[in-house]
Symmetry: C2
Subunit: 430 residues, 2 copies
């Protein structure tokens, strides 16, 4: 795909050269269209090969293996907040104690939804139910995870964009807003390898979150540590622990932390967890008693057997994921670098973990997504990473390299960079 | 335990005889206390032997068996409302079509809670969110299921007692109340073998529910068909189908129907379902898209394999449960009959299915439960079958015969009838 003409910044090209560039790109695009491609880079989905890493989950739990260490029959009713050994094991994912942990079912999004809906119907630690307030605002670092924002929007909240810096959300803005407006009830955070930017919040940012003094006493940080063990590098960053820092700051009720095995074992049948202060957990466990008869304890046992009860096996397991997906991230980054770097039209993230690459090209996101779609490559919708689907600069596209094969991914990226060039050239030509 | 003196109605006994009767009962009671019993009849829990009926569930799903008939990989994300073959299979439990069915996770209580919380936060088919109304009332046929009532109470509703007749809730009262008060938003129903009364709603009652014309457009019947295949007799009653009748009455949006496999396979790791009209389901599926990434599809497959995809196998499976639990119901009923029938102090249900026997002894329920507890027999709390735990006549006790062994159950029932006699005699002696 590498052109053999000297590449230069598109904005510095003469008009006739730019027109030729566009014509060349369009010719290439027409060839892609003729291939009738059907490629999907739209969601952060593990590939079948990644799922194959966990095949032992299908039969690692033996027929007579249905009791906890303390003798509880996991087949029957009983236990709301997770069997003891599952709390012990999975608490390590969030760096907390078993007592600070609840083990749920297969969807951490469902846990976050539930926690938020409880705040809507019953308030937080005795506060007025959010659903009875004239207005509830929720802070949304952007670009961010569309399904987080969708939960708050569905529940009737007003979403407030917070700019992301290289070390996390802009804390000057966060601190100022929450201090003055008690209708702001929380913030969505993906602190490790943020979706889609791949940002790892710095310890400084974590500590500022931990010390946050919101005007609303029932303000909560929704800390979705979805990618806490999902590294793409050999020496992953180590991050300060929010709950620990919040305790130090005498502010331990400020946060709810979440994680899951969705992208560790099988997304369809995993384990999700949350951690919070003693007070928060006591209140949520009480609420849980009304909401369910409990979660799938057999599946908790199954996961423990799969990892042989050793957390280091989970960490080793994640390295196998890395071996499968790091080359895919490399394909995306190499293609972007090779085809776009010199043109000066876009920038993109270089994540050390997680599931996404965030791509920015001002005023061109919608056009690129639409060009890709017409050539058979489905991307996450332009604007999806912003509240209400509105990207103010129409610049951000979330690339999800994990699901396609390497061959499919390379093909999809070829279409993508070609589309990006067309969009840029057309924009410059006006 | 059968006394060799002539038994007669306690209320017709001479005072000195009654005093002797009480003294004899107390002596017997003291013997029970000396045994340091530890028996639990408090919840409708299957026994380990019942769970053993489903042991194949542990390993019936083979390692490479993770795709639906249409090729979907159940290990991965995808499918909100149940895999097609699970909808097909489980829709038969509620006598509806697969299109009228959503397949959820392991807790139907969680589904009911969720549906009700969605009404609280987002209303029903465009109505004002219930959480924003000054008052929401919910009808509770009594005696009924404590955890149903608890959900409504937790969500801030006012609970309204509805008397149960032998053929279901008193429909004259239901029709009158819902026609005049638009703050009444629904009713809890267990239409087959009601908890705890064992009442099977008559077709007449089902049809009157189907034709209900509530003042509140967003009124919904929460039809928890928890025991729809849980028969204790060979020729179980056949009941008119609420959704079908509601369609005939041009009233199909009136109801949500629920069921689960909790007492068919394993309570901890079952499948729950709901059924409703096209309009209701479309709205709830949309809501579901915000609330979760989907339910455990592997477990849906596992259940299909366990029953070999044939619904008649589920029906046959339930006969094995019957063989295990019908003798336990017989122990309870025989003991009550033998020890209490002639005394004229109490009455009890003779259910054809379900999990409970409902026992009534006016003004004595609390005393009996407390006497049992002090002799090491835990029953469901007195009053539990009523909103706010308040049994106006202090008469109802829910007996749950399934979990203890037959030997334990007989022992517990001996304690129970002895306690019932003491309570009755003490009450008469004033």
């Amino acid at each position: 795909m590498k052109s053999d003409v000297v590449v230069m910044k598109l904005s510095e090209m003469k008009k006739e050269n730019l027109e030729q560039f566009l014509a060349d790109c369009k010719a290439e695009y027409a060839e892609f269209q003729a291939e009738n491609l059907k490629l999907d880079m739209s969601r952060g989905k593990p590939s079948p090969k990644q799922l194959d890493l966990s095949m032992d989950l299908m039969d690692c739990l033996k027929r007579d293996d249905y009791k906890t260490e303390n003798g509880l029959d996991c087949r029957n009713y009983g236990v709301l907040d997770g069997i003891p050994e599952a709390k012990e094991f999975f608490s390590k994912m969030l760096g907390v104690t078993p007592e600070e942990t609840i083990v749920f079912g297969n969807s951490s999004l469902n846990v976050m939804y539930w926690v938020m809906s409880v705040a809507m119907t019953n308030g937080v630690l005795g506060s007025k139910p959010w659903g009875q307030l004239p207005k509830v605002k929720f802070l949304c670092p952007v670009p961010g995870y569309d399904r987080h924002f969708a939960v708050s929007e569905y529940l009737g909240m007003e979403l407030v964009n917070i700019p992301m810096n290289e070390d996390g959300p802009d804390m000057d803005i966060v601190e100022k807003l929450v201090a003055e407006d008690d209708s702001i009830k929380g913030i969505w955070c993906v602190p490790m390898y943020s979706n889609p930017g791949g940002v790892v919040y710095s310890d400084e940012v974590v500590k500022r979150f931990a010390a946050l003094k919101p005007k609303a006493e029932d303000f909560r940080i929704f800390w979705d540590n979805a990618y806490c063990v999902h590294h793409l590098v050999d020496n992953p960053p180590v991050q300060a622990n929010l709950l620990e820092e919040a305790k130090k700051a005498g502010n331990e009720d400020i946060c709810y932390m979440f994680a899951s095995t969705s992208k560790i074992t099988f997304p369809g049948t995993g384990i999700s967890i949350m951690a919070a202060s003693e007070k928060n957990l006591a209140s949520l466990k009480k609420a849980l008693g009304f909401a369910t008869i409990g979660f799938d304890k057999i599946n908790q046992l199954r996961h423990l057997r799969f990892f042989d009860g050793k957390f280091e096996n989970l960490i080793e397991h994640m390295k196998k994921h890395k071996e499968l997906i790091a080359p895919k991230f490399a394909i995306v980054e190499n293609t972007l670098e090779r085809e776009l770097a010199d043109l000066g039209i876009a920038n993109w993230s270089d994540p050390k973990g997680g599931y996404f690459i965030s791509f920015n090209q001002k005023g061109c996101a919608k056009k690129i997504v639409s060009l890709c779609k017409e050539a058979g490559v489905v991307l996450t919708g332009a604007g999806a990473s912003f509240p209400y689907g509105k990207d103010p600069e129409d610049e951000n596209i979330r690339l999800s390299p994990t699901f396609p094969t390497e061959e499919e991914l390379q093909k999809a990226m070829n279409v993508f960079v070609c589309s990006a060039k067309i969009a840029a050239a057309e924009k410059l030509l006006g």
